[in-house]
Symmetry: C2
Subunit: 249 residues, 2 copies
């Protein structure tokens, strides 16, 4: 059975979308789960933080040696979101701070040979922790806007995931997923600036964030910098307003 075969392979060798010839004749279509994993890291040249994501190298056809999104066949007894989270952990040794279904891609010709339908999730992980992320030979982090040609339709998938991230309204939860439990407004603003790719006025940013009521201010301050110490804030979980009644983590 397809799922079992995939399960026995190390994750980096699993091909999220392809199968061998024998499997292809066994089923008319197969269901895979892939995950677009975003982290924030400082860019080499510009000191600004930018979006990065981990990809895995394919070790078999089709698209052997191309980079692809982490993923695999959906195991029979595993929930969709659980499969995405497991894939993420196996690839990066990290836990998702945010995980949401992105879209289901099922074009007939998106994979040569077998018809593959992929349920794709997108996830956010902590930036600092992503630094020490396990990066084996078959896993590598790429700048999200400088990707090489990927396997299958994965370039298009990443593009869509980026669009969703940038047009997502409820930034509060998302931006805070990139940070620790407490953070300064400057750090939070840095996240917004990295995602939106434009500078934000510190004063106006503070005003709008405070008005949104999603943050609780702590008594702690961060000293050590060469300027007035910044207050630490905490994300307010209670204020998860306008929640989607349906899915969404």
């Amino acid at each position: 059975m397809l799922e079992d075969t995939a399960q026995t392979l190390p994750i980096a060798k699993q091909n999220p979308l392809a199968v061998g010839g024998a499997a292809a004749s066994a089923a008319a279509s197969s269901l895979a789960v892939s995950t677009v994993i975003f982290a924030l890291r400082p860019d080499e040249e510009s000191h600004l933080k930018t979006l990065w994501l981990p990809l895995v190298r394919r070790t078999r056809d089709p698209h052997r040696d191309l980079w692809a999104l982490p993923g695999g066949w959906l195991p029979a007894g595993e929930e969709l979101a659980a499969a995405a989270g497991r894939t993420l952990r196996e690839t990066t040794d990290l836990s998702p701070r945010y995980l949401e279904q992105l879209y289901t891609f099922g074009d007939i010709d998106r994979s040569p040979g077998l018809r593959v339908v992929s349920v794709v999730y997108w996830a956010l992980v902590r930036s600092e922790v992503a630094e020490r992320a396990s990066v084996g030979d078959n896993v590598r982090w790429f700048a999200a806007d400088q990707l090489p040609p990927l396997a299958f339709d994965h370039n298009r998938i990443v593009e869509y995931a980026l669009w969703r991230l940038r047009t997502k309204v409820e930034y509060a939860r998302i931006a805070h997923a990139f940070l620790g439990d407490t953070f300064t407004l400057a750090q939070l603003r840095e996240v917004h600036e990295a995602v939106l790719q434009k500078a934000l006025d510190p004063a106006n940013f503070r005003r709008s964030i405070e008005a949104s009521g999603n943050l609780i201010s702590t008594d702690q301050h961060v000293a050590g910098a060469r300027h007035r110490p910044a207050r630490l804030y905490r994300y307010d979980d209670r204020a998860n307003d306008h929640d989607p009644p349906g899915p969404a983590l």
Copy 2:
């Protein structure tokens, strides 16, 4: 093969999520496509327009005799959106004016027996045309907010579809999907009011719609009513701004 079996049945008898015992042992999981179809019709008592949707009666277990979303197994050679559109036409004799993927539901226990993953689409059809919609014994239209207990997790799916419809930002395209090619601002406002479930000030509505730049005014007017004739407008397809680069019809 599952798909072939389903294909030979009349659509009303296809069960979107269930299979017979023989099929259940053949595959570990199965892929279905269902569609939430919205139309706008005048309510019985209140003269206001409200959202309605067609459901099909299940003719076999599980959930025999319960109402369910139209759908069926994904045929091997059919695109996901095409399957949703075909289901829609087979159920209602209508063509979708708007069709978009909603979400993929795959909880392990959402269907007794076999693990079923359903890719769900949501669609909008013209109100006037929906009046003469084919309503056989196994297809019936229901008010969207007064549904009976449905098969599987379909109540939850409809709830989520309603939420998406109401929180969708780009109302221009959506509202116009309920109408003909040309329409008055009053008709357009009626759609918005029905979806949002609240009255809108006509003058302010006009101002905001005109500012959005999504409408082209024609020279025609609608006479015959007991008041000043209203100008007819047309939806501006060019101004499909802020488009998602990825999926979405």
